[in-house]
């Protein structure tokens, strides 16, 4: 995403080493020495990423070990792909995979288009004040933590909550949407939408703002109805952004709201609420089967990366813009 902006030509460089200027040979050592102070900015940050991003990546080698914390990485026996083979026969992980995919597909169907619809709706409002007021409200839940979101939902939709109380008063006792395993996956999607639908509109607003208004004017003069203007002018302008978000979504298809699921698993049970990430946590950190859990996490990461790269390539082949 950012590479485009990063490649912006820098005037200073053009002056110093542009193609028109006669090449003055400076050795690498001279250039490094001249910029020595720049390295005082770079080295600490680079070390940070090395230690906290790349060292843990290397730590994934325990996926190929029968790892035990007491023996450490050096002392644990190597078992090749045994942990990966174990994944395919583990009923719990297959259940987690199924839950993950179901939730991901539901999110793609309901949560993905929601911000587009909301952005179009808000954009069609004529009053600026109303528009801004609604935006203020719908952006807010994005900034609340999952613990808070679920606590609030619990107080409203849980047993003994607001809705249960109202229904009880109407002679319908026993309402509790928070512990119902059958509808749990829809609940997860609904919570995600509540939290992030407003936030998701921002990027589409930016795209809508970039549409020249004379296009609408010309269409209106030619007799296009408001619906036709939305369909033929606004929506096509949103396609590049939507494609980009879709690519990112596909890459994270195996990652569905980790904290959200972890927090609610005690209420609905593992069968409905176990996803790949929570499996890794329960089996590895709490269950002590480090090797298998790490193998599952690693496989998930690799598949996600492959998916992003393929979706990106596909988008480009179809004539659209990719992420990079």
């Amino acid at each position: 995403m950012s590479v485009k902006t990063a490649a912006r030509p820098e005037t200073r460089t053009a002056r110093a080493s542009g193609p028109s200027a006669p090449k003055r040979k400076t050795t690498l050592r001279q250039r490094v020495w001249r910029e020595r102070w720049s390295y005082t900015f770079i080295v600490p940050g680079a070390l940070f990423f090395l230690v906290f991003a790349y060292v843990p990546m290397a730590g994934n080698v325990i996926a190929f070990q029968e790892y035990s914390p007491f023996r450490g990485i050096e002392g644990s026996p190597w078992v090749g792909f045994a942990n990966f083979n174990a994944i395919w026969t583990d009923p719990e992980i297959l259940q987690a995979l199924r839950n993950t995919l179901i939730i991901a597909v539901l999110q793609l169907v309901f949560a993905f288009p929601a911000p587009i619809a909301l952005a179009l709706l808000l954009n069609s409002l004529l009053s600026d004040k109303v528009k801004r007021f609604v935006q203020t409200i719908v952006y807010l839940p994005h900034f609340l933590s999952w613990v808070i979101v679920i606590s609030v939902w619990q107080q409203v939709l849980g047993g003994g909550g607001l809705v249960a109380g109202v229904l009880d008063g109407m002679g319908m006792p026993g309402f509790d949407a928070m512990t119902n395993a059958d509808t749990f996956k829809l609940l997860v999607v609904a919570q995600g939408m509540w939290k992030d639908v407003g936030w998701g509109t921002i990027i589409f607003f930016a795209a809508i703002a970039g549409i020249p208004s004379d296009r609408y004017e010309a269409a209106a003069i030619d007799g296009a109805t408001p619906w036709q203007r939305t369909w033929h002018i606004t929506l096509p302008a949103l396609v590049p952004v939507a494609t980009l978000l879709l690519i990112l979504n596909i890459g994270s298809i195996l990652t569905v709201g980790f904290e959200q699921l972890l927090l609610q698993q005690p209420m609905v049970g593992a069968e409905a609420a176990q996803v790949l990430d929570t499996f890794v946590y329960f089996r590895g950190v709490l269950g002590g089967q480090w090797g298998v859990a790490t193998a599952a996490g690693l496989l998930k990461g690799v598949i996600g990366t492959v998916l992003v790269l393929s979706a990106n390539r596909l988008a480009k082949r179809m004539g659209g813009e990719g992420i990079f």
């Binding site: 906290f52 609030v152 607003f205 408001p226 859990a293």
Partner: protein
Amino acid sequence: MMTLAKGRTGIPPWMSPPSIWVRAVKAIVIVLIVITMIYPLVYVIAMSFAAPSQARAGVVFPTEFSLDAYRAIFNGGTVTQGLLNSLFITVVGTLLSLAATSMLAWGLARTRQVPGAKAVLIMVLATMFFGAGIIPNFMLIKYLGLLDSTWSLIIPGLISAFNMIVIRNFFQGLPEELIEAARIDGAGEWRIFLQIVLPLSKPVLAVMGLFYAVGYWNTYFNALLYINDAEKWPIQVVLQQYVLAGVAIPGAVVSPDQPPPPGVTLQMAVIVLATLPILIVYPFLQRYFTSGVLTGAIKG
């Protein structure tokens, strides 16, 4: 550059006014959305102040109020401790994150001139596409001896690659002449950074600071993973314990000779306390939505 900033008051001359039906449907949908978004929060806040009798009866909106829940919670001490822990993590974490992120961003702003900077930039960008996973991170924290330390909630998330790129983009858009002039006058990189670059970058630093702060305040899973000592729990873990897991808040009484407030109001009050800081900074965050900084941030 955003519609929300530019505004379109009134109807453009070429547009025919929408029919009454279209407007009515839109109004109803908007009102429903607003109620869905805001009523749960309003309800929780209102019930945290509800008088015990009303909380037990379960009303849609309380009419009698009391501060007992808050008194009881602050008497208990655990929630206060959680709030203080989170405050520390948020303030210290945000300051350190801003310092570390803007330093790296300035170092990587001139990839053409500085040999090796491009390689570091790519190394940082790559982390946005592949995370190491829960277990290797846990093992690293354990190896570094940071388990059960508050620093385990600050250090691993010190620099977000995404935020670094946003700040770097902003730095690259600063007026070239100013920085070049300072360089010709003999100012060193650090002096340029501290006296020219940072003061000019207040808007982007404010936005990124708020984002870091919200992130630190909302820290939950890392604390669950790394911190066993309940004394060091941030407020989110405390909230999860007392509200979702249903553990009773120890010592949460108003006074010894009075029955404790109902569990519901106590839970609601903890939720409100955990949400309050977000609600306080939200208007400031909101201000930047319109400034365009954020749009650039999201687009990267």
